[in-house]
Symmetry: C2
Subunit: 198 residues, 2 copies
């Protein structure tokens, strides 16, 4: 099962994803391919698959990516084969993904559920972005404007979860994942007698 | 929110629906229109809306039904306007519906989730049909054959729930209903600030 989670900057997406992974041992985070160099402490195959630009571009040509993007000159992408092998091993794959990635994954016809985390309101989002305290007023205004723009894409998702309290959000995402496990495509795999009925 | 529940004869659908309605005060069972006469103890507007054949046929011509059927010469149907008025009052509407009804509701483009209750296996379904003890062998074989045929329609549903234990089935249906409440169409109604963002 594939669970795609997006949300604007400041919504608290990282905490939600970290907590879901902690509580669900049958769920793994998608590991991306990237052309950027490993940073100290990063391990190949755990944080990213570090590859050359040539390798990455070959993979693009072969249609190997579920989605990919160029971020500040470095390429990042999710290998469809890697996702499928994790699924074949019985794991759910969780994607920490942005709006552009979701558009691509949907265009590829990827199955899975697309969840958009939203703040209770814009004031709260502004407070959370402020709370980071690492940026000046102009940068903050820019980040808030970007977040507002990202929020206009709520229509392309399946589910909206208001991240008010972390606990309630984890509960909601878990409910969505459990319901996903009851979709006919998931259940039928455990019912060979039904799939062959005629 | 609309929840359509189907299942072959003997699967235990009535018990599941009864229990869901008992536990969820915000959920009502769909009340059908019918041309058959009220039986002793049945009340108009609670058990059915009892109408003349002329009225019913007028409603068909006006496209008033989400689905309708002719059962042993009597007409039965679900009024779309009635469903919408219950939804406008804030209720979830639960449908006890058969395969043909689901095909019609889907053809009308009805929103909602379609749940198919299935037995753990055919042997268990046979035992349950047997357990009713009201029919002779030939009737039983016919009912089992009908149930087997209905099961081939599992592909037109969204969700499959194996009715092994009643408690687990109620839990699964509740999970599906909760997830349904997190769909963007449901959540956006509570977030006017997000629906008007630009």
């Amino acid at each position: 099962m594939r669970i795609f989670i997006s949300g604007p900057s400041g919504v608290g997406k990282s905490s939600v994803i970290k907590e879901i992974l902690k509580r669900k041992p049958d769920t793994v985070l998608s590991v991306s391919y990237t052309t950027r160099a490993p940073r100290p402490g990063e391990h190949d195959g755990t944080d990213y698959f570090f590859v050359s630009r040539d390798t990455f571009e070959e993979m693009i040509e072969k249609g190997s990516f579920l989605e990919w993007a160029n971020v500040h000159g470095h390429l990042y992408g999710t290998s469809l084969a890697w996702v499928e092998s994790r699924e074949a091993d019985g794991f759910n794959v969780l994607f920490d993904i942005d709006v552009q990635g979701v558009i691509q994954a949907k265009a590829q016809g990827s199955k899975g559920c697309f969840i958009f985390l939203v703040p209770p309101d814009m004031e709260e989002l502004s407070r959370r972005l402020n709370g980071r305290g690492t940026e000046d007023t102009r940068q903050l205004a820019l980040r808030l404007e970007n977040a507002r723009h990202e929020l206009t894409y709520w229509t392309i998702y399946d589910y909206l979860v208001v991240n008010d309290s972390l606990e309630k959000t984890i509960e909601d995402v878990s409910t969505i994942m459990e319901a996903q496990g009851l979709l006919k495509e998931e259940v039928i795999r455990k019912l060979p007698w039904l799939s062959t009925i005629a």
